[in-house]
């Protein structure tokens, strides 16, 4: 009897042990949600590849898959962490183009006062976001190799589409590295060959980043769709040419060796690619700039949608933020009447670019303030939002005057590159290299002027086409489009004493800044996490 019981007990014990051990399999868990997939499940979907490539594009606009209020880049406010916002903060707010009223928003005070440190959260966010672009592109390249496609039984026609997508991903990665080179100089080299995790990649010098970007773009171009032949918002040859044109135009800054002829060549490629100026300057900055004609001028947008692609990105900020504290002109901008209470104002130096009778009828002159006795031109107290002029450029209003229902988020696509920029680049490259056609250069400038003025009354003559003119005209045409810092650096005006604006050098009237501030510091957190990285001089 006792042995019987013991046998039963033993049997039970063995059963129990078997059950326990089998439960150990449960330690391998998969996502359960209908919006979450294992990697393999994800790529089983029909539309997997465009959705995955969409993730790489989405990184330019939204901070996370759940929209505006969460971010996959940490260490700063989620809304501030978007790609476009990072470019805006570092290319626009570091210059004379704009002043941010709420300096208690972390990091922005240092950014607009040229007193940033390697701890600055906006810099950390920008560095992380731009490199995340590299990581997302690498993941797409990793998941779309010939081997993977074969294993998953992807059809031949689909494979051809994926080949184009791979080229797009490489261009987007090159775009990220172009931004890294421009802002931080150096960058870690991470490719699809590296595993996902915490690899400390080697550092590329600015020259090496330059070479990488150039090679990648040149290698991708043959695979890309012809200009304007891909879906709006996707990369085509025109986009790759434009990035190359930018890289060559600034080559002297990046490497010490000018590449004006190449800049001219690729600018010409862009100009001749079929893009056209839209009739009204301001249509480029409206809620329907993806369909109102501006889509033919915009070479590469960051598409935004007030409903489906919500972000506190550049156009959301530059609509809500543009509303004046006194004017309460939100209705005209397509946001709540009071907007953000006067978040963005202008330095008097920027306002002066539009001084003179010749700009009174210029459609690009959107400045408000001169007629308002309560508003002053000068900013003496940053906290007083009634000081400094304001402007209306981006409006979340459609060309027919209607406004969407969502009054906070913007539907204005941010024009990262547009044809007008290429026109100005051509003129500059022509002036600097001496090659190309002066007639064409002047013609391009006057095309912009005629559009702005409605007639040829303010056209320039060939003798007026100088570099000094170019830098100012670029500001008048392209302000608030995240070009200004790069342009000022190329013209030697960003640091030093030659050009001074309000808040420059952490002074309300502006003081000279040292040259090391042409580059931002590598964020301390990034330096610590990747021991191969080295700090930029001066920091």
């Amino acid at each position: 009897m006792k042995t019987e019981k013991k046998k039963t007990l033993l049997g039970l014990l063995l059963l129990a042990i078997a059950l326990m051990v089998s439960c150990e399999d449960e330690l391998d868990q998969d996502p359960q949600d209908d919006d979450a997939f294992t990697v393999e499940d994800f790529y089983e979907q029909d539309s997997a590849y465009i959705k995955a490539l969409g993730g790489v594009y989405a990184n330019l606009n939204v901070p996370s898959p759940s929209g505006a209020f969460a971010s996959n880049i940490e260490g700063l406010d989620a809304g501030t962490s978007t790609y476009g916002r990072s470019l805006m903060n570092l290319q626009t707010f570091t210059t004379d183009e704009a002043v941010w009223s709420y300096e208690n928003d972390p990091g922005i005070g240092e950014v607009q006062r040229s007193s940033w440190t390697a701890e600055n959260v906006i810099l950390r966010g920008a560095y992380g976001r731009i490199m995340a672009g590299v990581a997302f592109a690498n993941e797409f390249l990793r998941q779309s190799t010939e081997d993977k496609l074969n294993t998953r039984g992807v059809s031949d026609s689909k494979k051809q589409e994926v080949a184009v997508m791979r080229a797009e991903a490489r261009v987007l990665r090159a775009l990220s590295y172009y931004h890294m080179m421009d802002l931080f100089g150096k960058a870690p080299l991470v490719t699809e060959e590296d595993p996902v995790g915490s690899t400390q990649s080697p550092e590329m010098t600015r020259q090496e980043v330059f070479n990488f970007v150039e090679e990648e773009l040149l290698a991708s171009i043959p695979e890309l769709e012809e200009p304007m032949m891909n879906d709006y918002g996707r990369v085509d040859k025109g986009v790759a040419w434009m990035i190359l044109a930018k890289v060559y135009l600034n080559a002297e800054v990046y490497t010490g060796t000018p590449r004006w002829a190449d800049a001219l060549e690729y600018t010409e490629n862009v100009i001749n690619a079929g893009y056209s100026l839209t009739d009204n300057y301001i249509d480029n900055f409206r809620a329907d700039n993806d369909v109102n004609g501006a889509q033919n001028e915009i070479i590469f947008p960051i598409p935004a949608d007030e409903n489906f692609a919500q972000a506190f990105g550049p156009t959301t900020v530059m609509t809500n933020g543009a509303v004046g504290s006194i004017e309460q002109n939100g209705d005209e901008i397509g946001v709540q009447p009071a907007g953000w209470g006067g978040a963005i104002r202008l330095t008097p130096q920027f306002v002066s670019l539009f001084d003179g009778q010749e700009f009174s009828g210029d459609d690009r002159n959107r400045i408000i303030g001169a007629n308002n006795p309560e508003r002053t031109l000068e900013i003496n107290d940053i906290v007083d939002q009634d000081q400094g002029y304001i402007l209306e450029k981006y409006t979340d209003v459609r060309s027919d005057g209607t406004v969407g229902n969502q009054l906070t988020f913007s539907s204005v696509d941010f024009p990262m590159f547009r044809l007008a920029d290429a026109y100005l680049m051509y003129a500059e490259a022509h002036l600097r290299s001496g090659s190309g056609s002066q007639t064409q250069a002047v013609g391009y400038i006057n095309a912009l002027r005629e559009r702005a003025n409605g007639d040829s009354s303010e056209n320039i003559s060939s003798s007026e086409l100088t570099l000094d003119f170019i830098i100012d005209e670029r500001a008048r045409e392209l302000y608030w489009e995240s070009h200004r810092r790069q342009d000022l650096i190329r013209f030697g005006l960003f640091t030093g004493s030659e050009y001074i604006w309000t808040l420059k050098g952490n002074s309300i009237t502006g003081v000279p800044t040292p040259d090391f501030r042409k580059l931002f510091p590598i964020p301390n957190a990034s330096l610590a996490a990747n021991q191969n990285l080295t700090q930029n001089p001066g920091y």
Binding site: K2, K5, M20, E26, L27, Q29, D30, P31, Q32, D33, A36, F37, T38, F42, S47, A52, G54, G55, Y57, A58, N61, V62, P65, S66, N72, I73, E74, T80, N104, D105, P106, T117, N120, Y127, G128, A132, A135, P188, V196, G197, S198, D231, G233, D290, P303, D305, N307, F308, A309, Q336, A338, G341, V383, V403, D413, A525, S526, A528, A529, N530
Partner: protein, 984 residues
């Protein structure tokens, strides 16, 4: 009949007391008349002895006049002088106040005398009295090393920290185990907290395991300490207990802002151009958002033996409590049933605890900030207002359209016009089977099944009359509405074997080993905004990945002669959170205790009645880094598809993009290694008892949410096992029976207990040596005030050093240029003070005299600092202008004279204040009518005050701010309460 008093037995049997040595038989039972096996019976001053069998029966040779000593762990030793009777049944009383008190430890019990680890055990009689809403308040301030910080909202949860917690980025919450079921620390958001659904009246004891020697058996989640809660169980005696309590709540203190008249003169002095914006009213907005609130609480419980075979307890409770912030409410109804039958001659014991709780809440938004800011010269009501008759700032356009003006919104309207209600249904309990094998009496098998299932729903509706609602393009206001459901379930399967054998007279071995499986599931549904038809449908249902924790554990205890006790345990834990090869962790512990007072050299001491030395070492693990899908699948990663609002626009069409999620396949267990040395002592026949513990804990492989190399992952920051945190502490608790009534109701009995905790934490290493910013504050989007840095305590304040003039007044905008580079920027911030207290103390006094009882509790924290974010973000004169309107500010501005808030002033050390405090939590006076109505019934009436006073230098509302950042809190009310308790 069963509780025949021994006294009567003696009397009855006196005449036959002349017999010589003879055999006596009998049964030893407990208070519920259940037989107690294994009771030691000794004839005093002889070596004759025996133990009771499984049915509690014994037989022993004894002579008249000799004394029999019945002793059993956890029970009061009974001495019975033998008078010659044939049978002698003895009923043992449970020890309530001695070293033999039963203490729950992981997967078993122990006694105070035999404990080798650091454990604080609090029985019902030790609990804090008063207005106890949630169970953790029963032990607030009562145990050294245990801090409970409770919010002011009705039913509000608490931050519980045992020994300061040992983690940085991972959870610092202790593991709470109710009747063997470890709870999920992430409560349903529809409920106020994980403990708010639990009726404090159902709790029998709290056992707080503090050092790793005690907690390691719970390995996987034990790094933050373990709190074992035991609920009351069924009994054989019929008992009824009824409690009624009512409370009246009031605001004890307000934030100092300018009164309407002061505000008027301030505006005319400083902003003469804005005088026309002033109103005619005199409104104290803080008065307006609060109210005097009441609560009622009723509990009834019945204990008895159902059908004479089923010991059972049934308890019902209902609490209805309004909060002092207008509209807030907490209602809880609970029912619990406990059955404890035993079968086959007590060989099989079953216990079933089933609890149902229904919690309803109405949440009131935190409008304190608006109440501070709102212009006191404006009225609450405005009969012409289109916003439900509440005063608001707006303009009318030419077309009559109403445009809200940017400024603070009427806080009273914000409260009244929002109905944010949630309800939670929770069912939890366990079913435990304890079987003693017939062929091997020393061996038991225990199986415990647990379930904790909560489902909740919330409806949050803002009235169409509110200015805060969605405004359609036609100008109409449409309020806001959304609903959501949440549910989560936690299931447990534990099975273990216990082998307990007295190897020799003196050596006892107790070995147990088992298996534990726990699964956590969660899902939910959100409607998104329902009042805006033009918006994207954001409704979403989600299912979280399951979290599986499983473990094998074992413990062996060796007890020799009541003098030496050695205990060793090991637990091997697996978590589904981690990736391949990183899932498992092993957590060993060993401890030793030496009962010095049992040694001959101390045995005779008059002064010293008890002395025990304890020492132990153990390791515990932590894996709780959060409850999101990304946290639960950190080891493997996955693809997340865009939500409707986070899509990518391709060719003008929204596309649900696929985002690879960040992953860390190296993530694994965080491990805390603790050494603990303790001394338990008793003087004067245990009238003065106490415990001293000293410990050193190193948390290694600390989870830190730290930077990853940019570009290597799909984020720039992820949880990594990188860092070490050291915690040292000293804990002392003393309990003194100052006056001993010796059971005489007419004499004074006065018990005083005191505990003090010293704690010192330092981050020894941190991922890549890189500082980590923490402590988000108001006043700038994403600003941080605190910092983690190697070589410093956690979360010190990272601030600018304010410069003062010769008169000691701060100079606005002047900060020390600490790095001397002539620029004041982030590099000039320094670490200053910390939010954690260096010393915490608790004191409880209980006096009984002639039916009166008087109890009070006090707590003190010393060395804790608070960042006064209320002042730093508002107390500047420029805030007299609030966008387009006027706004009030805290009067602290008069001390600084600051005009503007700048990024630097926001982070000035002038706003770091000493928040040390002494608080009287509770005072209560009661009177008990014995033999009320019936001989066996009693009635106790009592009244008391909760949150009696706080003594502090802190200038804000309340110095007790968990985390050290005060940006307005739900004020802790002062409560007056009355109650009655009937028992029979």
């Amino acid at each position: 009949m069963q509780t025949f008093k021994l006294f009567y037995l003696w009397l009855l049997l006196l005449p036959v007391s002349l017999f010589a040595q003879q055999e006596v038989t009998g049964t030893v039972t407990d208070e519920s008349d259940l037989p107690i096996p294994g009771v030691n019976i000794l004839v005093e001053n002889t070596d004759r002895g025996t133990v009771t069998d499984f049915d509690g029966n014994y037989a022993i040779e004894v002579s008249e006049g000799e004394t029999l000593v019945f002793s059993y762990l956890g029970y009061k030793t009974e001495k019975v002088a033998y008078q010659g009777q044939e049978t002698l049944d003895v009923s043992l009383k449970t020890q309530s106040e001695s070293l033999d008190e039963v203490v729950l430890v992981g997967y078993g019990t122990s006694t105070k005398k035999e404990l080798t680890g650091s454990v604080s055990s609090l029985q019902e009689k030790d609990f804090t009295k008063g207005n106890i809403v949630t169970p953790e308040n029963l032990i607030q301030g009562r145990a050294a090393g245990v801090n409970v910080t409770t919010g002011g909202a009705p039913g509000s949860g608490s931050a519980i920290r045992i020994r300061g917690g040992g983690s940085i980025s991972a959870s610092n919450d202790p593991l709470i185990v109710i009747d063997g079921l470890p709870l999920n620390n992430n409560n349903l958001a529809e409920s106020r907290s994980i403990l708010s659904t639990i009726n404090p009246n159902d709790i029998k004891s709290f056992n707080i395991l503090k050092d790793a020697a005690a907690t390691a058996i719970y390995g996987n989640r034990a790094s933050g300490g373990v709190i074992i809660i035991e609920t009351k169980d069924g009994g054989k005696d019929f008992e009824v207990d009824f409690n009624y309590q009512m409370g009246i709540y009031d605001l004890p203190n307000k934030i100092d802002v300018f009164s309407a008249d002061e505000f008027r003169s301030l505006i005319s002095e400083r902003r003469p151009g804005d005088v026309d914006m002033l109103g005619d009213a005199n409104t104290d907005w803080q008065e307006e958002i609060y109210r005097v609130a009441t609560s009622t609480d009723q509990n009834a419980s019945v204990r008895g033996n159902l059908f004479d075979v089923l010991p059972a307890r049934l308890s019902l409770g209902h609490r209805d409590q309004d909060g002092i912030r207008r509209t807030s409410n907490f209602t809880r109804s609970t029912a619990s049933i406990s059955l404890n039958p035993s079968f086959f001659d007590d060989r099989l014991r079953i216990s079933l605890n089933a609890n149902a709780a229904f919690e309803d809440n109405r949440q009131a938004d935190g409008v304190e900030g608006a109440a501070i800011r709102f212009d006191p010269t404006q009225p609450v009501r405005d009969l012409n207002s289109p916003f439900g008759g509440y005063f608001e700032y707006f303009t009318r356009g030419n077309d009559g359209q109403i445009n809200p003006v940017l400024g603070t919104r009427n806080p009273v309207a914000s409260l009244v016009q929002r109905r944010n209600e949630s309800s939670t249904d929770r069912f939890y309990g366990n079913f435990k089977v304890d079987y003693r094998f017939s062929f091997l009496e020393s061996l038991r098998a225990v199986v415990n099944l647990g379930l904790d299932d909560s489902s909740g729903e919330r409806s949050n509706v803002l009235s169409r009359e509110s200015i805060n609602g969605i405004q359609y393009s036609d100008g109409s206001f449409n309020g806001s509405a959304f609903r959501r459901d949440r549910s989560q379930r936690n299931t447990l399967f534990d099975a273990y074997l216990v082998y307990n054998e007295d190897v020799t007279d003196k050596l006892n071995i107790n070995v147990r080993g088992g298996y534990s499986y726990q699964k956590f599931e969660a899902e939910g549904f959100d409607t998104g905004e329902l009042r805006d038809e033009d918006q994207v449908d954001q409704s979403n249902s989600f299912v979280d990945p399951e979290l599986i924790l499983l473990a094998y554990f074992g413990r062996a205890e060796f007890k020799y002669d009541q003098r030496y006790i050695l205990s060793a345990s090991v637990r091997r834990d697996g978590s589904s959170r981690f990736g391949e090869g990183q899932k498992w962790g092993t957590f060993p512990a060993a401890s030793f205790a030496w009962n010095l007072s049992e040694e001959e050299f101390l045995d005779e001491s008059e002064l010293l009645s008890n002395l025990k030395l304890r020492a132990g070492y153990g390791e515990t693990g932590q894996q709780d880094i959060g409850s999101t899908a990304a946290d639960k699948l950190i080891g493997t990663g996955f693809y997340q598809q865009s939500q409707p609002v986070g899509q990518v626009i391709i060719g003008g069409q929204p596309v649900r993009a696929g985002f690879p999620q960040a992953r860390n396949d190296q993530a694994t267990w965080e491990t805390a290694k603790t050494i603990n040395v303790g001394l338990d002592f008793g003087f004067f026949n245990d009238r003065l008892t106490g415990t001293i513990d000293a410990y050193n804990r190193d948390t290694e492989d600390l989870f830190v949410n730290a930077a990853v190399p940019d570009g290597s992952n799909f984020t720039n920051q992820i949880f990594q096992n990188s860092g070490t945190l050291n915690t040292k502490g000293l804990e002392l608790s003393l309990n003194g029976l100052i006056a001993d009534s010796e059971g005489d109701r007419d004499r004074l009995n006065w018990n005083l207990s005191y505990n003090v905790t010293f704690i010192d934490q330092e981050i020894e290493s941190l991922a890549n040596g890189q500082d980590i910013r923490t402590g988000g504050i108001a006043g700038g989007t994403g600003s941080n005030i605190q910092l983690l840095r190697e070589g410093f305590p956690q979360n010190q304040f990272f601030v600018y050093k304010q410069i003062y003039d010769n008169n000691g007044n701060p100079i606005e905008g002047a900060y020390a240029d600490l790095n001397g580079d002539n620029i004041i920027n982030d590099s000039d911030r320094y670490l200053y003070r910390k939010p954690q207290a260096d010393v915490t103390m608790g004191l409880q006094s209980t006096m009984n005299y002639k039916g009166f009882d008087l109890t009070f509790n006090m707590r003190a924290n010393i060395g804790n600092f608070v960042y006064n974010n209320v002042n730093s973000s508002r107390a500047q004169f420029s805030f007299l202008r609030d966008n387009a309107v006027l706004g009030n500010i805290p009067t602290q501005v008069l001390e600084t004279g600051f005009e503007n808030r700048t990024p630097e002033s926001l982070l000035s050390d002038i706003y770091i204040e000493d928040a040390s405090f002494l608080r009287m939590d509770n005072v209560q006076l009661g009177y008990t009518f014995e033999e009320f109505f019936d001989q066996s019934a009693s009635l106790r009436l009592y009244g008391g005050v909760q949150n009696v006073f706080v003594i502090t230098e802190y200038s804000g509302l309340d110095p007790e701010i968990f985390g050290g950042i005060d940006n307005t809190i739900y004020p802790r009310p002062r409560t007056v309460l009355f109650g009655a308790n009937v028992r029979f």
